[in-house]
Symmetry: D2
Subunit: 353 residues, 4 copies
């Protein structure tokens, strides 16, 4: 269950403080010239320590390629890669060995497996998402060659939100919180600084748009494209909600206000609005696909929290490891990666590759 | 891609105006005494024509069991069933043969397959959900024997919403819109009547709570329980969003306000609040699982809508078939059915059966 | 686990004495004009009561199509069909309710499920293969349009075997045992008549050749084309062995005698011999694919056999139902059907559709 | 398609002359104390250069564990591992870059992918089976704790065969060809020496028996235990055939000679013979499971062979790399590994873990 996809299959492994994290991509199309620099750019975007709004923990995040590539080109065979875990200060977590951090996976892993690697969250650590970013970056290179582009950004942090849709990734990257609305970006930074001062944390929303998607991706009934996207997005640590097109707002709307009329222009059929978010009946209609993913405030805060230990005693626990105040800016490349993985798989399933 | 599940696998088939819809349940546990009446009750709840708020189209919805059952007990072999399509007034849809209804699947099916059964939406019709209700009702009987109960209700229709959580299904069924808040239930009915008068339609939200779930359901990373639920819920016709626990509201909250402290009571560990919605790190923690599903207003309205035909000509289309003004009350049993299918599969995967 | 295939997925259901057997084909390519007569021809070939060498039990085997077909063409949506069980003389099997027939599935089903439909073997009856023949006949029509043809025949019954490869299906059908070698065909008929007289049964071998297969079908490692074929063939009732190319004989050969030299002719690369059986490294090489499937003598004989009952008492059991003396002639169309299902799935996976 | 299994899922990656081969085991039961020495013993058994009958190429085959293990115990999360490729003399293969070795995967990989790592066969090299041996050794440790043991041996090399079933693995390991029949073992060694002298190669058969298997493993129809075993065995390089129980010999037998009568002894039901090979109706019956796998003589011989190059020119090719004369002795641990992977998956699927 650590694999996602049907034809483009990504298997992800690793604990945050074990020897390495990594992945295997099975179904990678052959003959692709890999742009290794572009993959590193994505990893940099996800990496901790990018700016004052993220955790100061440093991770080198160097990818070692093990298979599936020959003279810089993909072979069509499984592409395996690892990222070594360095700078792992396990001692920061020693008081976690026998305690359950609230709103983390410590208790549920113990309940499920009877054992867990308590160092830094182990398998449940968001460090695992670095492997997703690598796989997503590979998928993206295949998609880009087909004219499909994916762009995500921060549209909310705490109480501050924006409706602005960026025109390019540069507009996203111009902000350290990855919000293309510069006024609100500054307010978001301040909100994070305030939360840090108060030893608190913040949630937010990542918005994403996918352009250039051909018609016909997705399947009726259980393989609907929105099902594939929702499953992938909800697998990201701290994600609490997914919506596409009009999303939750649609629940308050009248039908007459949410129609996307078809028009024919130059022999091509398209819609004049996009309440549908680019998907109708589970299948892409050629319009942009857009969706939002809600993230909770992270549960690790520099304050004592009431909880229990493995012996079943009620205790107070203060987690001292380095951590983010708000994961949303770093979640932006992870959302893009998961979108790329899903869309490439759907493209391959559609027979349009 | 018309199959959902890993160990409890449900394959769904059928067009709304073909000979029959139906399904095959592979992985049904053996030796279960099936309560056929309870299955019919669920089908009645989903059925059109229940009340003035739903379409007046009548469907007999009689289940014919084909396999997997011997002397009233499940055999462990695939349980196949069909529901004949009767009262199918195809002529209502004859102007759909060459036109694409806006916000429906007509265009995308044609784009994907180059052919479609245009009668009543064919495969994309919500009639297909009757088969899901049958499969869900079977799953539910297995879950009930394990102390797991699933209850959904209408928490929003258009602008009217409620926070009331029903104490029992009777409170839900007391309202024809399936809203346990009687004051708001009446307002919802009126909103539907108003929308009908104005030839419009309404969206809404279905809320669901699952009680009695043991710890340990769900898997790390891509098999997270929320991923399974999100995928299943987003596969329901007209669903636009999914959230669990604090959901989208979590994006506006601070971490200090969303902690679920663990406490030990009588040697049992539990949380004193449930911002997590019963799932932590992708795995059930023993608390109630709760989630919401947003539904858009349906796109079929008794008014002419601008669109195109297969020849690529811009036209106006008036769909004259019988249809709902608001699908939310009838979506309630479908949400429950999909939840039952997911939870039983997760239970079987967890090895706790 | 009653589903086979990845992109062309066939789910099979039904007990021999329940209401119906049937199947769902998910992934059927859209827009195919179905030749229903050709499907019936295949069912006739599998049907009992064709000649004196098969069981005299009659089955109408009429296919009822439920979904996925509109105006004679496939829609791309799941094709579901059923075959009613008529002429089911359950009383023939009443002494089986509490006894375990030797070398049948009675005991293992009870051990696995704690319950079984004892009438005629229920799910374990070879009647289930009729559904395979329908699915295979559909697959075959798609393959034929791509120039891929599948032909199987009887190459051994008991001690009598042949090396003759038929030039056409007519040569196969000219013999009631489906052996294209007329001299040996007559001897096989006599062997069956002798075994019947002695209340015994006979095994044999079905050989199969697939022509017109493009290069590139099958995957490295676990998805090898021979793995897919072996799995499918070993799923047929009474199959005990599978071999392709030189098969078991290869184990006795020297390498120098089993080389398939490549030659280039008119810019096309091919082999001058076919020890490989059309598959190299798990992937089709463009040569004919050929394989053999060994079938055991069936275990139902018109004589008392020592066994036990559910109470664990040692008894003698005489099964009085009608049955074949040798299943091999009727297994020929089943082998072809399974080959068609596998090859179409592999073709779709290869992206060559 | 480089993954095998449903609940115990093994994903295998790597080219023979790339940086590493390896695998990911998803579904490994938690809390298992791994015996690393036992895993190394298995790798030694598969390793080239063990004796004069195997290739003199040396491979260190040191396993590096990357994830899923904490303080020597499995975590229930994916177990990833790699084996570095050292001693890879790519220059031996330089004349293979543009040529297709007969009966190898060179041509089919090029036909499928348009690219291949020609060094030593790349992905198609049997070096990949080292990863299978690691995964199998882990599965075996879980099975051993349940009383399930797997033992394979060489029962044929070329014209020399034996019917002797070894009493223990020691009897197998006492022979460098892994044949427990010491007289025939010596003859097999001589046959290999002769073939080497004549620049030829030899095939053979590996036999395997699995003891301690509970009843109820395997599924009706497509998930039959023999289907799972056949698929796994046919995925091994050079395998040409699979049979279980009476196998191909059953095709020549009469039913009356192949009955396995049930008897009840001390309240336990068992068979007095085992023509069925431990599987009836696709499900284990509690008796020993036994099967044979036929291997062809390898196609690499120290002699020039006629073939073509990528340009489509007819040439003669002499492959100078080090290679085995007969792979059968080294295939013995691979057959055991694949059997362990299949049986553990079937055990987990049966709910008997």
């Amino acid at each position: 269950m650590n694999t996602i996809g049907t034809l483009f299959r990504f298997t992800d492994f690793g604990e945050s403080h074990g020897p390495a994290i990594g992945g295997v991509i099975d179904g990678m199309p052959p003959g692709i010239d890999i742009d290794f620099d572009a993959i590193n750019v994505e990893l940099q975007r996800r990496r901790p320590g990018q700016s004052f709004v993220t955790t100061q923990r440093k991770e080198a995040d160097e990818v070692e390629w093990l298979s599936g590539i020959f003279e810089g080109k993909t072979l069509g065979t499984p592409v395996a890669f690892i990222i070594r875990n360095t700078n792992a200060r396990s001692e920061d977590y020693s008081n976690m060995a026998d305690s359950y951090r609230p709103n983390h996976a410590d208790y549920t892993y113990d309940a499920k497996y009877g054992i867990r690697d308590w160092r830094g969250g182990g398998r449940s650590s968001a460090r695992e998402t670095a492997a997703r970013v690598v796989a997503g970056a590979l998928a993206r290179q295949v998609l880009a060659a087909k004219g499909i582009e994916i762009m995500a950004w921060t549209s909310r942090i705490g109480k501050i939100s924006t409706d602005i849709v960026p025109a390019s990734r540069d507009e996203v990257e111009a902000s350290i919180v990855r919000c293309p609305d510069l006024g609100n970006s500054a307010r978001m930074e301040k909100a994070i600084a305030d939360a840090r001062a108060e030893r608190d944390s913040l949630g937010g929303i990542v918005s994403c748009v996918i352009t250039g998607v051909p018609t016909g991706l997705g399947e009726p009934v259980f393989g609907k494209l929105q099902s594939m996207l929702a499953s992938a997005m909800m697998s990201i640590n701290a994600a609490k909600g997914f919506e596409y097109g009009d999303g939750f707002a649609a629940s308050t709307m009248r039908g007459s206000r949410s129609i996307d009329p078809f028009v024919a222009e130059d022999g091509k059929i398209k819609t004049t609005s996009n309440h549908s978010g680019g998907i109708q009946g589970g299948i892409s209609n050629g319009a942009d696909i857009n969706f939002n993913v809600a993230f909770k405030p992270i549960a690790t805060m520099a304050r004592p929290l009431p909880t229990v230990n493995r012996k079943g005693e009620n205790i107070e626990l203060t987690v001292t490891g380095r951590h983010d105040i708000c994961v949303v800016p770093r979640a932006v490349p992870v959302v893009e990666a998961m979108a790329a993985i899903v869309i490439l798989d759907a493209l391959m399933l559609s027979g349009k590759m």
